[in-house]
């Protein structure tokens, strides 16, 4: 199988602080891989190493089967055939849009350069702005020009560093959508760095989850979401209900019934992580005792748009005080008896009404207690 991008045992440190530890990663030709993780996890450094903007300290990097960096080799960025898109777009302010796009086409004749630049602009829907200067464009338009500029020289690999975080939320979704199609259409191997889990799931063929310089998990968005490697990965993509327990007979008990403990040994302390949408709720209207699950009292219910968030308490006495915060932190303490349930659409039961809750075991995960957060 040919490889679009290969990182092999890459380690990197600034002064003495390590930022990347033994990172190995491959991307197939045309594949879009998202490097995702919290800030400071080393994802931007990895991108800069691939671009050649940092000198590699340890390991090796191949682009399209060609060695561009190892302990002896450092191909300078201008000879690596990479396209780079920045968070601030970095359009050259003194050049027109068409000149910006043509900047990387140094080797072809002027006429062809203009023709190819215009064709590229047409692909991102910006041909009518060819003669404009960057400061005359909106953020979304600038981002499209930046994409066109990086793609114009037909690079072997595209590198995008938080390319959408400079845009406001509503615009971001549209630009993201457009970018995805342009990138997939061009067939260019792409490495995209983001700290936004939703963006990673939206864009990626595969997600590389990073934590403190290490690659924690590499897989399709559905694998990462459905089978997280540890609590850190699970927690990164949604907030969680967290429950401490002990493995008994290969299972861990929860108020909603036991869940399989995976490979954990008998008697081990375990953590059960339950995604808010793994809890199924049946409302008070059809609240007959034959419905599955157990009874819970509604503490609050809020419509968030496409979903509703319901806060539940298993103690049915309305006088009982719960001390969880509304819509609060990611990990709900079960000792506080406060549960977050996410329900599609509009579902707003009255406060203190009684509902029934059941657990979908496929969306709850069991890890040894004290797993890295």
């Amino acid at each position: 199988m040919s490889v679009g991008l290969r990182l092999e045992g890459v380690s990197h440190a600034y002064d003495v602080a390590p930022v990347l530890r033994d990172l190995s990663l491959q991307a197939a030709p045309g594949e879009l891989v998202c490097l995702v993780g919290p800030s400071g996890c080393g994802k931007t450094t990895a991108l800069r190493l691939v671009a050649g903007l940092e000198r590699l300290q340890q390991g090796s990097i191949d682009i399209d089967g060609r060695r561009v960096a190892d302990s002896q080799t450092h191909v300078p960025p201008e000879r690596r055939s990479v396209g780079l898109v920045f968070q601030d777009f970095a359009l050259f302010p003194h050049l027109r849009v068409v000149e910006n796009v043509g900047f990387g086409l140094g080797s072809v004749s002027l006429g062809e350069r203009v023709a190819r630049s215009r064709a590229m602009l047409a692909q991102v829907g910006m041909e009518e702005f060819a003669e404009a200067y960057p400061h005359m464009l909106s953020g979304g338009q600038q981002q499209r020009v930046a994409l066109a500029r990086a793609l114009a020289p037909q690079p072997k690999i595209m590198l995008l560093d938080e390319p959408f975080s400079g845009l406001d939320t509503r615009l971001r979704q549209r630009v993201r959508d457009d970018a995805l199609h342009v990138l997939k259409q061009s067939g260019t191997t792409t490495l995209l760095v983001t700290h936004d889990p939703e963006e990673a799931m939206f864009m990626a063929d595969r997600i590389a989850m990073m934590d403190r310089g290490r690659l924690v998990q590499l897989g399709t968005p559905s694998e990462i979401y459905g089978q997280p490697a540890n609590r850190f990965v699970a927690e990164f993509f949604s907030d969680l209900n967290v429950l401490q327990g002990v493995v008994r007979g290969g299972r861990v008990a929860t108020p909603f019934g036991p869940v399989a403990a995976g490979g954990l040994p008998e008697g081990a302390a375990a953590e059960v992580l339950i995604r808010p949408e793994a809890l199924r709720v049946q409302g008070p209207a059809d609240g007959n005792s034959a419905a599955p699950g157990i009874a819970a009292r509604v503490v609050a219910a809020r419509l968030l748009g496409r979903t509703s968030l319901v806060h539940l308490c298993l103690n049915l006495d309305p006088a009982h005080r719960h001390d969880g915060a509304l819509g609060g932190g990611s990990a709900q303490q079960p000792e506080h008896d406060h549960w977050h349930v996410r329900v599609p659409g509009r579902f707003l039961p009255a406060e203190d009404s009684i509902v029934r809750v059941a657990l979908d075991p496929a969306q709850s995960f069991v890890f040894p207690a004290g797993d890295p957060k």
Partner: protein, 574 residues
């Protein structure tokens, strides 16, 4: 001075030394700037102690005393004038304050020697003032005593009047940068306005003021034309006399070395004022300072004080020059004036082009390599501003003359052709001196301009296939065209004004406007000196007016950066 480290990008580790073109270039320029200093200091190590003893017994004490006395006097003068003017203009409301805010800078356009010539012409026996006095009171020569200004006191007065804007600019920027809150807190804690100034504002501004004073001291040390004309023997005039008067190159070199000791002390003071004395402001809240109104009497005094500074530092000498130039307008029909002006302009153009190119390459090398070696080399290259012109001249001519002799001897024996003074006798040596001395001015503007370009521009250009030189040519240079122009203009004007190095190093029979003014003045033909002097002032006025405009439009926080970029001499000291 130093480009701020960008926080968003991880900073590249300061890498191990790598030999490459950029590093070699930066180190070469750093060494080039150090070479003249080495050339005057080196002979000391081998010098005959007898020579030193001779120097100490004869002139050294006088030069040292005079130089220190002059520096002390000018220091006190500029400190008082500059700080007072800055405080009045930033904090008080009185008639004309908006005008004075920028007009107080005008003396910056005046070369000190030009002001010295102007006042001497104005005040001497045949000058308009004494003529008017005699006519008014019907006096004859000898009936009255009139104080002369051609002495130490006069030199201190003239230099203070011309150099106070350095202190004024720095102090004003510091006062504006201070959060108004600290002053208001001081007032609410029971201090008077005056008490707040002395107890809070002044200590906070001290590092900036010391920085401005260090620049004034360097200018004073470099000063040649005015002190020579006033008959005050300093190191600069001593070097000049040893070189030309006695042809004693060793003595000139020794004096230059002694002078560099004073420079070293100044540099240390300046560095200390930036380092330990640096004050971090605790509040970042800026508000438009509301100037408090002065009472009628104080307001009149404030207006008079500022008016006097602008008048004595700029208007009076400028008017005197204009008057003299009109009287001798006939010189305009003569080819000499145009030939001199042409020489000045060509030298200034060549120097500014060379200095800006070198500065651009240095600043970019620093950005590209981020190694300690390159950073150090760039810092050293910026030290040239601290080398007095007379020292620079001696430090360049000594080795070049030796080199010329060797080339000449080699050419004679090989080809039978004498080459003469190939380097030291031509404008090449002079251009070298200018570039070394004014590189810091260019470097300062260029670095400020480069710092405003985000590193991602660089990365974008590189990944799009542009090698560093192409990125510099097609991306950075056009983006910082304004800074490059500012740098070129400031170097241009500094070259036009420069006197001591030009005087010592110019090729035979090659005169510039500054040299011509000096020669007329030395021959006591002051009215004839007016025209070339006025021409220099006309050029020097351009950047000062631009700086003034920047200041008059500035607001706290917004304008100080612009002003800093426009006034490199103020930040040029390393």
């Amino acid at each position: 001075m130093v480009a701020p480290e960008t926080q968003s990008q991880p900073t590249t580790p300061r890498a191990a030394w790598r030999v490459d073109g950029w590093t070699v270039f930066a180190v070469a320029i750093g060494l080039l700037v150090l070479a003249p200093v080495a050339a005057v200091v080196y002979p000391l190590l081998t010098a005959d102690p007898e020579l030193w003893r001779h120097l100490v017994h004869t002139v050294l004490a006088r030069y040292l005393t005079n130089t220190l006395l002059l520096m002390l006097g000018v220091c006190a003068g500029t400190l008082a004038l500059g700080v007072a003017a800055a405080w009045l203009v930033t904090m008080c409301r009185f008639p004309g304050v908006r005008l004075f805010e920028w007009a107080l800078l005008l003396p910056l356009a005046m070369p000190t020697y030009v002001v010295a010539y102007a006042y001497t012409g104005l005040l001497d026996f045949a000058g308009p003032l004494q003529m008017a006095l005699r006519a008014a009171f019907g006096l004859e020569a000898g009936d009255y005593g009139f104080p002369s200004i051609r002495n130490m006191g006069g030199a201190i007065a003239v230099l203070s009047l011309v150099l106070y804007p350095y202190v004024y600019l720095m102090a004003r920027a510091a006062f504006l940068d201070q959060s108004l809150c600290v002053l208001e807190v001081s007032r609410t804690l029971g201090r008077s306005a005056w008490g707040s100034f002395a107890g809070v504002a002044l200590p906070l501004a001290r590092p900036a003021i010391v920085g401005g004073l260090a620049l004034v001291m360097m200018e004073t040390l470099n000063e040649f034309g005015a002190v020579q004309f006033f008959g005050v023997d300093t190191f600069s005039t001593g070097i000049f006399r040893a070189w030309f008067g006695f042809g004693d190159y060793r003595a000139a070199a020794q004096l230059a070395a002694a002078m560099m000791l004073v420079v070293a002390v100044l540099l240390m003071v300046e560095r200390a004022s930036r380092g330990k004395g640096r004050i971090e402001h605790t509040s970042r809240r800026y508000s438009q300072i509301r100037r408090y109104p002065l009472g009628a009497g104080s307001a009149a005094a404030a207006t008079a004080f500022c008016g006097l500074l602008v008048g004595l530092g700029f208007l009076v000498p400028a008017a005197t020059l204009l008057n003299g130039a009109i009287e001798h307008a006939g010189a305009l029909a003569d080819g000499e004036f145009y030939r001199d002006a042409g020489h000045s302009i060509v030298l200034a153009l060549l120097t500014s082009a060379a200095a800006v190119l070198v500065a651009l390459a240095l600043a970019y090398a620093d950005r590209l390599r981020r190694s300690r070696l390159v950073r150090g080399a760039v810092r050293v290259a910026g030290l040239g501003y601290a080398i007095p012109g007379a020292v620079l001249a001696v430090g360049i001519l000594l080795p070049l003359t030796t080199l010329d002799r060797q080339i000449d001897a080699a050419a004679r024996s090989l080809f039978g052709v004498p080459t003469g003074l190939l380097l030291s006798g031509t404008a090449v040596a002079l251009l070298l001196a200018y570039v070394i001395r004014f590189l810091a001015v260019a470097l300062n503007s260029v670095e400020a301009g480069l710092a405003r370009i985000t590193p991602s521009m660089e990365s974008a250009a590189r990944t799009l296939g542009a090698a560093p030189v192409r990125a510099l040519r097609e991306v950075h240079s056009p983006m910082m065209a304004g800074s490059l122009f500012t740098a070129a203009m400031l170097v241009f004007v500094d070259v036009m004004k420069e006197l001591p190095a030009t005087l010592i190093m110019r090729p035979f029979d090659f005169d510039t406007l500054a040299v011509r003014a000096y020669q007329y003045a030395s021959d006591e033909r002051l009215p004839q000196a007016a025209l070339p002097s006025l021409a220099i002032v006309a050029f020097a006025l351009v950047p000062v007016l631009l700086l003034s405009r920047a200041i008059s439009q500035s607001r706290p926080g917004a304008g100080s950066r612009l002003a800093a970029g426009m006034a490199p001499p103020l930040e040029a000291a390393p």
